[in-house]
Symmetry: C2
Subunit: 549 residues, 2 copies
């Protein structure tokens, strides 16, 4: 039997395009003699469709799209993911299902049993978990079909009380197929390989695994669909961050034969290379899927906006990127020079708008209220917010989308101005720590200098008052970032972090800064997610609450 894996990029809710893409893939596969094409979890509507799933009209559209796909299945079979009505009165109204389609009809329906409901996942919000399991027979092959998380319950402290494959294995299947929507984080590829390989070994069955590729607002799917032999050996690993369709000859008791050169990586991509490629896909899909093409950003001469500008130019083409230099009287001379060098290196567009007259107008207007009071954060923020007003005016006039350039370290400690530099349609590096931003800059410069060396080596500064440096109020990023990681990603208490050897005063001050910034983060743009714990939907903290540290 010839099995194809279709690793595709779907636009949530765009039934016309999705159906067209699935049927197009089926037609090509059929011409090549494929027996079965496997598409990803909930591919019929895209993932995550969130509360679209609460609209009956949306569910009906899914059903109609599946009917169209079924009609295209003459002489070929396919597996698609689809939300389906739960026909029993008890429980949630939907299942997260897979259709096995052949001969123009849905031959079998498999429902997901283990529903991820942590971090960015909310599946129990919509779906009733399945409790009964049945293999599918097709052309003499017995298939154990599961959906994503159904295979992930292998760890020591499992999240769920059941394990679907333990039931399915009793029916003596010949092969496992798993359809998934497993998002990218920079350490997720190896984890995925380990879990899937462990499943193949545990059940002594070959395994075909199909993932999504493409970004859905902040969530990036990296692809990396895979095939394993019954011994747990990786037979093939599809490319990352791009669509791919591959085909394999599989017969009972034989080893799997790839029908094209396999794309097995000689060595794994480094974390930074993955983040780089993920962010570019994230920018591309945000623009493409929302119907925009042109980005704007404020270019300060610092490293954050430089890296975002370079990523945007790579994602959208430099001709679609407008960099605006917005110096104030506190901007140093080299800032404008560094920004201009970057613009020249990238070949993107630029404008220069000085903000002095604007901040002066604000200060004059506020003179009756502020008279006699010292310069403080109020005036600092007026600079940052004036820039945002200018950038948003450019957006409103010319149809740009503003890219936010805040990094994860500053978003964490609240080192940013709400309605100022925290503005934007999408945050590009809000899940990238400052130390990683430097790594990204060096990676971007791997072949030639794109980001000016001076931008990389000068001490980071917000330039909102004379001679300001980030380290005036924050520890060095080499100290700050690992501390933040312990708190944010590993949920360690300050006591535990101090016990790891960090300075007590610094730890308490940093964690307090993080806690005090929850109200700011609530109003930030969606942040492209590259780590296991990004700010946004995956981290839900009370705003008004008393924090422990």
């Amino acid at each position: 039997m010839k099995i194809s894996l279709a690793q595709l990029n779907y636009h949530i809710g765009n039934f016309e395009k999705i159906t067209e893409k699935i049927i197009h893939t089926l037609n090509i596969a059929k011409a090549q003699g494929t027996d079965l094409v496997v598409f990803a979890e909930l591919c019929i509507c895209g993932y995550p469709a969130r509360d679209f799933l609460e609209f009956q009209e949306f569910i009906d559209e899914c059903g109609q799209a599946a009917q169209q796909v079924a009609q295209a299945c003459a002489g070929i079979a396919c597996i698609i993911g689809i939300p389906t009505p739960n026909h029993t009165p008890e429980g949630k109204d939907l299942h997260n299902s897979a259709y096995f389609i052949a001969d123009g009809q849905v031959q079998a329906v498999v429902n997901k049993a283990l529903l991820p409901n942590y971090d960015v996942f909310d599946e129990y919000r919509y779906f009733e978990p399945e409790i009964e399991f049945q293999c599918i027979d097709y052309k003499g092959i017995r298939i154990a079909l599961t959906i994503c998380e159904d295979l992930w319950n292998t760890i020591e402290n499992p999240l769920y009380v059941t394990r679907p494959m333990d039931k399915l294995i009793e029916q003596q299947p010949d092969v496992m197929i798993n359809i998934a929507a497993s998002p990218f984080t920079y350490n997720h590829d190896e984890e995925r390989i380990a879990i899937l390989s462990e499943n193949a070994k545990r059940y002594q069955l070959p395994l075909f695994y199909v993932n999504h590729v493409g970004a859905q607002t902040e969530i990036i799917f990296d692809g990396g669909s895979m095939v394993f032999g019954a011994d747990g050996e990786l037979v093939d690993e599809l490319p990352y961050f791009t669509e791919a369709v591959t085909c394999y000859e599989f017969n009972k008791g034989e080893t799997i034969k790839p029908l094209q050169p396999v794309t097995l990586q000689a060595q794994r991509q480094s974390d930074i290379e993955q983040i780089h490629n993920g962010l570019i896909l994230g920018i591309q899909d945000y623009f493409r899927k929302s119907g925009f093409s042109k980005a704007i950003l404020g270019l300060s001469g610092g490293i954050d906006s430089a890296v975002v500008c370079a990523l945007a130019a790579a994602a959208l083409g430099p001709e679609n990127v407008m960099a605006v230099l917005l110096p104030s009287h506190y901007s140093t001379g080299h800032s404008v020079k560094d920004a201009e060098d970057l613009v020249n290196n990238l070949g993107c567009k630029s404008e220069l708008i000085a903000i002095k007259s604007i901040t002066e107008a604000f200060e004059t207007a506020l003179h009756p209220q502020f008279e006699g009071l010292p310069f403080n954060i109020a005036e600092e923020n007026i600079q940052s917010r004036s820039r945002a007003v200018l950038l948003m005016a450019m957006c409103n006039k010319f149809g740009y989308i503003l890219l936010n350039t805040s990094n994860k370290s500053e978003v964490a400690v609240g080192y940013g101005t709400l309605y100022g530099d925290m503005c934007g349609g999408i945050s590009v590096i809000g899940d990238v720590y400052k130390t990683q931003v430097f790594e990204l800059a060096r990676y971007i410069n791997r072949e030639r200098e794109i980001i000016p060396q001076n931008t990389i080596i000068k001490p980071p500064s917000a330039e909102l008052r004379p001679d300001q440096k980030d380290t005036d109020s924050l520890p060095e990023y080499e100290v700050l970032d690992p501390m933040l990681k312990q708190y944010l990603e590993h949920r360690k208490s300050s006591k535990e972090i101090i016990a790891q050897g960090y300075d007590e005063t610094t730890v308490r001050r940093v964690i307090k800064l993080v806690n005090n910034a929850e109200h700011k983060r609530y109003q930030t743009p969606p942040i492209l997610r590259v780590s296991p714990k990004a700010f946004g939907m995956g981290r839900r903290m009370p705003i008004v609450g008393r924090y422990l540290s």
Copy 2:
């Protein structure tokens, strides 16, 4: 047996204050001869603690607080809500539990079985559902103790496959006790009474029900704890929007005797009265629990900011409310007059800052880019954003919290400027439709004119260009609001809404406006929730997606 109900207001994560409050209540009750005091669901840490629950330190603090409460339980028993570790390796790491405490020790632990995971609820994110049920015996009385949602599975299309009371009733309990965290919406009180009464009747048992009171950022708990006889008759209903502790004599086979005058309402509060009281509590708790006392807002002369100003003055005292008049050259003369009249009626503080010189500075700075292009939304938004910069500068200088004054109708259709009038620490009326804002204004004026009549009767306008009216681009609010309700709260498709008799072109345009504003709403402040479907955590839509209508 004397049973007390403690309907209290908790500050999430403030273990010191919560423990103190619980022990104080226990001591008073003990002095009055009470046998058992019932506190609300998860009272030990406040509700919803969200991802605080993922910190082991937080769970440990809960346990320590419970130990302190237990030590205070000499000669008195109590029921408290607490997150507890799940001691089996499989499943989520926590349970949503109730401790039955007597003689200084935890005598029994009951875990919640039905975990709400819809709208604003995320309980399956943290908790493993219970599958075994056991009554508690105390002083010869057998108690069927359940937690909130456990009693809510009575409807025709139940959300869950089990019903805990069906198991507990087999053990022949004498009474039901339910501890809850049931948030306010303006139609929830009657629904709650109906469901609880139905439970009492179905199981022919008296029922004691204790709810939270107080606001947790956007979620308002209204209290309204209740006692029912075994016939389903309401014996007592505690007050709404305020703390209360009441006591009842309950003996097997006898009717329940309230030990204080009952507070049974002669008639239910109207929706608008409930919304009014809920919003005041919402403002109060937002400030009190975040350690702020002074609010600021922009006062336009229109009805939205007038109503918010009046609510804030009622919540915080007029001396703590700063109203800033920010006229532009498009503001009409009566706007300033109407705003000043309101300030005088309320006795709050005010400032007037004209924005003309600021918007001119922006337009001058942007002249090279905008030259020759017509005035459009870019210039309109500069006005709105300049006001936001001024208001935020006042916040930064003087420690105010900015109140957002957008109403639900305009938040829905995106009739607001991101980083402009959509700014604020908390949105007061973002879940109140414009037609309800008018009702609120009339309610606020029920005894004397507080909101100037002219503010109520003039046609709504954003005043961002000459002679602008809301109805230039939107249908009349009497048409718009019910249409929005169908789409937002009842998840009807445009086809279904049109079938209800609304004009097709208008419906399609309005729903398109709603869909196109998702990216704006993602960045709005938390919105005090008064309806069954508020914008915010309870409504999770894709930003980049293709919408149906």
